[in-house]
């Protein structure tokens, strides 16, 4: 490009926006890394190297196994889908090697994690588990529900404008107020709406946001109690714990709020994506004899995959940093059952005033979000490009 006077104009025009984003968006990442290497409680202290990370992660070998395992999942996916494609003779080994890699990734993650938990910061690591529950439960449900709503709205029936307006309403609602209303709806008192609703089905009132027991345990005990009542015996009680026991009922209640907030937003974006699919694709599929279900599976879903990818990436970034409604709905008694990583980071900073530890925690969370985004890109983005 030859030098031109309008370049100066262009640089001057982008300067305010770019400078602000550089100062308040990009610089903080570098500075958070810098802070995490010092002792920093309100004021900067001495250099401590990776001590803060050691406090958070507990065990270097464990952490290496854990993060290595996460990356190994990517490798497994690559082997499964692509690696051996070029050689006809080797092609059938791709899935096998991929499955073996995936299995070793799983082993590395769980072994690494158990070593980290033994020595690391229990509150933050527990927060990461709850963040994982939160993200992996709410994002898929949000996206499936949104796709269903969008397909229904896309039928262009009378009143669909009104429906679209109603579905989008939760998204514009200030989260503090929305969370306050949810807390009242899901109040543990038996006369409140949700417990009243359960009562109609003969289910005893639940403690919702005050319930720290895993939801699977509550379900199992509810079913066992019913069987015992039918059989006329004493009910057996089970107690579940560990990762596979699942989130507490309190966290599930918060997840429901998250789904309520974002489903309509996702549906609006899906709706625009649906309108963007060329009509002739459907006509061609129809001529080829595809029925409605086949058209949905083989035309709609693939054509929407860039939108799905975008919503998944945004959904995971959003859920992994979700804060407001979690912070408003938690109660002191359930902190260890609902606090996600971002709430723990905020508390480490705001309540414990340990700035450097909070910075180290935030960098760990950031790295996990990056790996997750990379993963989405490989798995979902790849499908769109094919």
């Amino acid at each position: 490009m030859r030098w031109r006077g309008e370049w100066i104009t262009a640089y001057a025009m982008i300067f305010p926006a770019t400078a602000l984003i550089a100062i308040f968006g990009l610089f903080p990442i570098g500075y958070a890394i810098y802070m995490s290497l010092y002792r920093w409680r309100i004021r900067q202290g001495g250099f401590v190297g990776l001590d803060n990370y050691e406090t958070v992660l507990g065990d270097w070998g464990g952490a290496a196994a854990f993060f290595g395992g996460l990356l190994l999942i990517l490798v497994a996916h690559h082997l499964w889908t692509r690696a051996f494609r070029a050689h006809a003779g080797w092609r059938r080994y791709g899935p096998l090697v991929g499955a073996l890699t995936l299995a070793s990734a799983g082993i590395a993650i769980s072994l690494g994690w158990s070593r980290m938990v033994e020595a690391g910061e229990a509150r933050f690591l527990g927060g990461l588990i709850r963040t994982t529950y939160y993200g992996f439960l709410s994002v898929p449900i949000q996206i499936v529900l949104a796709l269903i709503l969008a397909s229904l709205l896309f039928q262009r029936l009378r009143g669909s404008e009104t429906f679209r307006m109603l579905f989008f309403l939760p998204y514009v609602t200030p989260a503090v107020a929305g969370a306050a209303v949810y807390a009242a709806l899901f109040s543990p008192r038996p006369e409140r709406p949700i417990n009243t609703l359960l009562g109609w089905f003969g289910i005893p009132p639940q403690d919702w946001l005050f319930e720290t027991d895993p939801v699977l345990e509550l379900l199992a005990n509810g079913v066992l109690a019913r069987i015992a009542r039918l059989a006329g015996t004493e009910p057996i009680e089970v107690a579940l714990s560990g990762f596979w026991a699942g989130p507490s009922l309190a966290l599930v209640t918060i997840i429901v709020f998250g789904i309520w907030t974002y489903t309509g937003y996702n549906a609006v974006i899906f709706l625009a994506g649906l309108a963007n699919i060329p009509r002739d694709l459907y006509e061609a599929a129809e001529i080829d004899g595809a029925n409605g279900r086949q058209r949905f599976l083989h035309v709609t879903i693939p054509m929407l995959s860039p939108v799905t990818f975008y919503l998944t990436v945004l959904g995971f970034i959003g859920t992994f940093q979700a804060f407001t409604h979690l912070y408003v709905m938690r109660v002191p008694a359930t902190r260890d059952a609902v606090d996600t990583a971002s709430v723990v980071i905020f508390d480490t900073f705001y309540k414990r005033n340990d700035f450097s530890l909070a910075a180290a925690q935030s960098i760990v969370l950031f790295v996990i979000i990056l790996i997750l985004t990379l993963f989405n890109q490989r798995v979902l983005g790849g499908r769109g490009a094919r």
Binding site: A10, A17, F27, P174, V176, W260
Partner: protein, 291 residues
């Protein structure tokens, strides 16, 4: 690729008359709408009840207690919080429109070295979680890093960090890029430079997208919670969201007052949303598709 317009054409076709085959679709949509809207209905109804009615499984109050609003309003400084939220929103909207119009224009219509790289870097900031940036941001506005003094708990600290977001720049750039080149050629013949063309031709043409940008900024500012919670330690500039939160945690209000407070916080957003929902949903849909 103009997806929003295609969507628009399709949405303008009048919908067919009701047929029995549509019934399942209506049932499903109505179920979704009930789930979406019930919390609002519950909030409104409870905000007008008296204490006895809130614990009585009553759906509607016998006599609407409008006094609840007066009580909630005077218990917490909602008048101050409301004023603060309005000022914060207006200032942030002006800031965002200023920076994003300029940047969106340059990225859309001027070719300069580094344009794509800078734009890609800006877009990548959308992936950065706020939980990572808030700690250094706090030190920045406290004046620890740059010696510009401590501006915690002030209007600039609550607004300036939000003056520029990649999302809005992106939205504007898409729109500005579709303005026909002939207009620019004509303006240049008249001796206009980029700035005059932007102010006199592009901005007046772009009112829809500027409105969308303003609306999205309004909702984000109104709903922002973590940052104002962190940096407002007096009520001077505390916005409604944080005010409602302190009302909940400090006063521990009874349900009907709490719901009245929630209504006060939500109503301004809802009013604006009802009058502009088309621009809202279409702006979001367009940017979502192109992202």
């Amino acid at each position: 690729m103009p997806p929003a317009r295609d969507a628009q054409v399709r949405l303008d076709v009048p919908p067919p008359a009701f047929r029995l085959a549509h019934l399942p679709v209506y049932v499903a949509l109505t179920f979704g709408a009930v789930v979406s809207a019930t919390p609002f209905a519950y909030m409104l109804s409870t905000s007008l009840m008296n204490l006895g009615e809130t614990i009585n499984r009553q759906l509607l109050p016998d006599v609407p207690q409008w006094g609840n609003y007066v009580e909630a309003w005077s218990n917490a400084s909602f008048d101050l919080y409301m004023r603060n939220s309005i000022i914060l929103s207006v200032v942030t909207i002006l800031g965002v429109l200023f920076t994003s119009t300029l940047a969106g224009y340059a990225f859309a219509r001027i070719r300069f070295p580094g344009r794509n790289v800078i734009f890609a870097i800006l877009l990548s900031t959308l992936m950065i979680p706020g939980t990572v940036t808030f700690i250094p941001q706090f030190l920045l506005v406290r004046g620890d890093i740059v010696p510009w003094g401590n501006w915690l708990d002030t209007l600039p600290a609550l607004t300036i960090p939000f003056f520029s977001t990649a999302f809005i720049i992106f939205l504007f750039r898409q729109f500005f890029a579709e303005i026909p080149d002939e207009l620019w050629d004509a303006a240049r013949l008249d001796g206009a430079g980029h700035l005059r063309f932007l102010v006199q031709v592009v901005v007046p043409m772009s009112r829809p997208v500027l409105t969308t940008g303003a609306l999205l900024t309004f909702v984000n500012t109104w709903n922002e919670f973590l940052w104002p919670l962190l940096i407002t330690y007096t009520p001077t500039w505390r916005p409604l969201g944080v005010g409602l939160y302190t009302f909940i945690t400090e006063a521990g209000p009874e349900t009907h007052l709490l719901m009245a407070g929630s209504v006060i916080t939500i109503v301004p957003v809802l009013i604006i949303y009802f009058f502009t929902q088309k621009q809202f949903t279409e702006g979001i849909a367009t940017s979502g598709l192109k992202g």
